[in-house]
């Protein structure tokens, strides 16, 4: 049995490389066209090719989202695009328009056709139908419970992909066009205005029955499936997917690394006890920016799984610096400042090969080797004394007092 795939999102080339360096088996990205997250799609042909070449060094895969719900006017250039992706050695495309399957098989047969969560596939009969249509993989809808995922997996012979982390549509994906009505932006063509996160008055006939202090919101908490990863592995799920193509490099690194370590530990030990899951949850807390829960994995979503008047928070650690180089003779890291910190702060470094390691920011210099006590300019480059070995790509966060 092959090891389960950890699949990470990436908005751009830099983040995709970080995801792979931090342990993703595969990344999914969006090109300039045809993708549902238009604002999160920054990959031109050159970038996609470079990413594929980079990924091959790590034996990682690249999937490209072609998951907008096409209108007739949107198809122009699709054949050339699919051929290009195949020539770059992209492994597969994630699609929502089923009729693209025969096109893919015809013009770019090496590309796998993965059926997007936009299709909201939530039962094994539908999965089997998609397989009959030619699908190589099916991403399940986020409305499935863990028992249903196990049942579906037992009843199909096509690889399944399941979301384990990140933001969720509060509606069945692909079945919400509120954005179209309220902003003329097509939710199914990359224009979603996240109307579900807005606040609404509720009326019974002409009488308002909502509470003005707490208006109706459809906003859902983010998904966190850390407690279910072991069951998903045992259910023979093919791929565990992290959501968040708009997320920061720090978020990608921290979340990917945490699930990487968790998956590896499950394969090594066969089981994770509650204490270890709690440890990994605390690691995920360091990257979170919205309250999270297990969504439909545990069954129904009651009111505790909605966000009523909550605006995030919950992050216990600030990402403060990215490491570009490390001089082991002088124990000096050359860093790029991301957030404010000073020379009295306690910091924590981590990286693809570096476990969480605490240290004090005591000594730092600017690029002219003047001592500085405060790092407060984003993108500023500094030299920071770090008493242990680091590599390019490591990150540093500030440990806040909770």
């Amino acid at each position: 049995m092959s090891k389960i795939e950890l699949l990470a999102p990436a908005k751009d080339l830099a983040k995709a490389k970080i995801a792979i360096r931090y342990g993703a088996d595969a990344v999914y990205i969006g090109g300039k066209r045809f993708s549902l997250r238009s604002r999160a799609s920054n990959f031109d042909y050159e970038d996609i090719k470079e990413l594929c070449d980079f990924a091959s060094l790590y034996n990682a895969k690249v999937y490209v989202t072609v998951n907008m719900i096409f209108h007739d006017e949107d198809f122009d250039g699709i054949i050339e695009y699919l051929k290009k992706l195949e020539s770059f050695n992209v492994t597969g495309v994630i699609i929502s328009t089923i009729s693209l399957i025969p096109l893919i098989k015809k013009v770019a047969p090496k590309l796998e056709a993965h059926m997007s969560t936009q299709l909201s596939t939530v039962n094994s009969l539908a999965v089997r139908q998609l397989k009959e249509f030619g699908a190589d993989r099916v991403v399940l809808g986020r409305e499935c419970s863990i028992q249903e995922i196990e049942m579906i997996s037992r009843n199909v012979n096509v690889p399944l992909e399941v979301f384990i982390h990140g933001g969720m549509c509060s509606n069945y994906s692909g079945r919400c066009v509120l954005s179209n009505r309220m902003t003329l932006r097509d939710a199914n063509r990359g224009g979603c205005a996240h109307s579900c996160r807005w606040k609404y008055h509720l009326y019974e006939n002409d009488t308002e029955i909502s509470n003005p202090e707490c208006l109706l919101s459809m906003s859902s908490k983010d998904l966190r499936a850390s407690a279910y990863v072991e069951k998903m592995i045992k259910a023979n799920v093919a791929s565990l997917k992290i959501e968040g193509r708009m997320k920061s490099e720090y978020y990608i690194a921290q979340v990917v690394r945490t699930y990487r370590k968790m998956i590896d530990e499950i394969y090594e030990k066969g089981h994770l006890d509650d204490e270890r899951i709690k440890y990994y949850d605390e690691e995920l807390d360091k990257a979170e920016n919205r309250p999270s829960d297990d969504g439909f994995l545990s069954g129904d979503c009651d009111n505790t799984k909605h966000l009523f008047g909550v605006n995030g928070a919950g992050v216990t650690h600030d990402y403060v610096a990215y490491v570009h180089k490390y001089d082991s003779n002088r124990n000096i890291a050359y860093i790029e400042v991301k957030n404010i910190f000073n020379n009295e702060d306690t910091l924590e470094a981590f990286g693809p090969d570096l476990d969480n390691t605490l240290f004090k920011a005591k000594i730092m210099f600017d690029e002219d080797w003047n001592l500085v006590s405060l790092a407060n300019k984003p993108t500023q480059r500094l030299y920071l004394r770090v008493p242990f070995e680091m590599k390019e790509g490591c990150m540093i966060r500030k440990v806040s007092k909770k």
């Binding site: 238009s38 719900i69 096409f70 209108h71 007739d72 006017e73 949107d74 198809f75 328009t97 009729s99 693209l100 096109l103 936009q118 939530v122 039962n123 094994s124 009969l125 539908a126 139908q129 809808g141 499935c144 249903e148 509606n171 069945y172 079945r175 919400c176 066009v177 509120l178 179209n180 009505r181 309220m182 902003t183 003329l184 932006r185 097509d186 199914n188 990359g190 224009g191 205005a193 109307s195 579900c196 807005w198 606040k199 609404y200 008055h201 509720l202 009326y203 019974e204 029955i209 909502s210 509470n211 707490c214 208006l215 109706l216 459809m218 439909f296 979503c301 009111n303 799984k305 909605h306």
Partner: protein, 290 residues
């Protein structure tokens, strides 16, 4: 072309039977149909006697745990004289094949059947027909219809479903604000975004939450052209009063058979004062920066 309505109340049948070519009914995996299995059986017999077409709708997505319910429902459907089965979840295809009903299937793409290629794809599988999405412009609609003449259905009147969630937004909200409100007759509920004034009807039942357009979509002016290519035109009656339903049927019958001019003042008045052309003349492809 057939003119169909969704019949959501049993008692309405006698009022509409001479105005429509057929009815669409539903129970499991559909929302807003207040019909029992006995009433559905009875309506299928009435339709046969009145020489009307009889269709069953399954509008919802079907979870893995409800597979047995789906099979039980097909057990029931297969014993009726059914002219077609509207469905949205792809699981229905395999079950319909088991019951010999595959060639009666009509795929209702709801929000995701938006182009000619996809339409042809489904039709080429051997399905009877498809229902195209409601968020299309007239140009897009006619393009799809002309590419697949007399094979495609379309909603031509009524509120448009705009979102569908498995989450129970209303039930959960009432629990959150500690308020008891019956959802048994939730057709009277609507929501309005705090900075806008659209009153969008909302339902919350066992299938989850659905939100519909604030406007009533109509196609009076366009119908003379559409009917040349359409297989079926559907009047969705959800949230409509009986008088509105009958009035719409009469209007479409007159346009269809009497070739009444759509410019007739009474229809123009309805367009201007009561109804909306939805997205027929309004593209929804703006970006965040526009």
């Amino acid at each position: 072309m057939e003119l169909l309505i969704t019949l959501r109340k049993y008692d309405l049948y006698d009022s509409i039977k001479n105005l429509t070519d057929g009815i669409i009914v539903g129970k499991y995996f559909t929302s807003g149909y207040h019909l029992s299995l006995e009433e559905i059986t009875d309506l299928s017999i009435k339709c046969k006697n009145d020489n009307l077409k009889f269709y069953v709708a399954l509008d919802d997505l079907i979870s893995e745990k409800d597979r047995s319910l789906l099979i039980n429902y097909f057990d029931f459907i297969s014993k009726l004289r059914v002219d077609g089965v509207y469905f949205h979840d792809l699981s229905v295809i395999e079950v319909a094949k088991r019951y010999g009903l595959f060639d009666k299937l009509i795929y209702d793409g709801k929000t995701i059947l938006t182009n000619s290629l996809e339409t042809s794809f489904y039709l080429n599988t051997g399905l009877d027909s498809v229902v195209i999405s409601r968020e299309l412009t007239l140009q897009e609609v006619t393009g799809i219809l002309k590419n697949n003449p007399n094979r495609v259905d379309m909603q031509i009147f009524g509120h448009i479903r705009m979102s569908y969630s498995k989450r129970h937004f209303l039930r959960n909200y009432f629990k959150q604000i500690d308020r008891e409100v019956s959802l048994d007759n939730s057709e009277v509920l609507s929501i309005t975004e705090e900075n806008r004034d659209y009153h969008m009807p909302i339902t919350d039942d066992e299938s989850g939450t659905k939100i519909y357009s604030d406007f009533i979509f109509e196609t009076y002016k366009e119908f003379p052209v559409l009917k040349q290519y359409l297989r079926r035109g559907i009047i969705d009656t959800i949230f409509l009063e009986d008088g509105q339903i009958i009035s719409a049927l009469v209007d479409f019958k007159r346009i269809t058979f009497e070739n009444r001019d759509f410019m007739e003042q009474s229809l123009l008045n309805k367009r201007e004062n009561l109804y909306s052309t939805g997205y027929l003349y309004m593209k929804t492809n703006k970006t965040k920066d526009e």
